[in-house]
Symmetry: C2
Subunit: 136 residues, 2 copies
């Protein structure tokens, strides 16, 4: 996929599946919202009340996968070490309202009151895109 | 979700995102086909020409995540240690034709000629299901 095709693919409000390594070295994965902006992914999690957030304290590398559910299958996979930043209303709104304006605003109001809520910014160390066409 | 709701959810031809740990202890994740049958997940990979397959030689635990892309968000996440078995035409067909009869049959014909093609059977050690309703 070209850089423009990747931007267009990642602009759609798909979920991404976010993988971490737990304290025993086992993989963990869950669907999360994301925002792709200026060459970086933004996510949000909670450092204490989410496994995903706790894993970041013992394992700095993460991987993520976004796929189209129908043929032609397209997929973007990225690896990197996210920076953890304090929660930021503008970023939380930008992430959450991609998936619906009203629900995103309501979600952000709640998230801003969560003490361990953070945002993650990940510039991919590696980004793999693939368009499988209709044959796969 | 009830066991019946989980079965119904997993019967739809969604992709699952399959996470492994690489030889450096970093997570890896990619979309794969799956089949849920009699309380076990079946997958297929290649032991040598796929990172996912190679990771299994150094890390026996995997995690997988399936999600509905639209509200109400529903998700099934499973952890386990897959058993690696030789490729089996019936299983490859059962997995691949879930995602389209014709493409699945063509894909299976090719896959049966791949020397390192295997099937994986994973009885989940842990299965987490969640229906977020329309609020998330």
């Amino acid at each position: 996929m070209t850089p423009e095709e990747i931007d267009e693919f990642l602009a759609a409000p798909r979920l991404c599946h976010f993988a971490t390594t737990d304290e025993r070295g086992r993989p963990r994965v869950r669907p999360v919202w994301y925002l792709w902006r200026d060459g970086a992914f933004w996510f949000t999690t909670r450092l204490e009340s989410r496994h995903t957030g706790r894993d970041l304290s013992t394992s700095e590398w993460v991987a993520m996968s976004v796929a189209s559910e129908d043929r032609p299958y397209r997929t973007v996979i990225a690896h990197g070490r996210p920076e953890v930043a304090p929660k930021d209303r503008e970023i939380l709104l930008a992430i959450s309202t991609r998936y619906g304006e009203g629900p995103g605003r309501r979600w952000t109001a709640i998230a801003m009151r969560e003490p361990d809520r953070v945002v993650l910014r990940m510039e991919p160390s590696k980004l793999i895109s693939r368009d499988y066409g209709t044959t796969a």
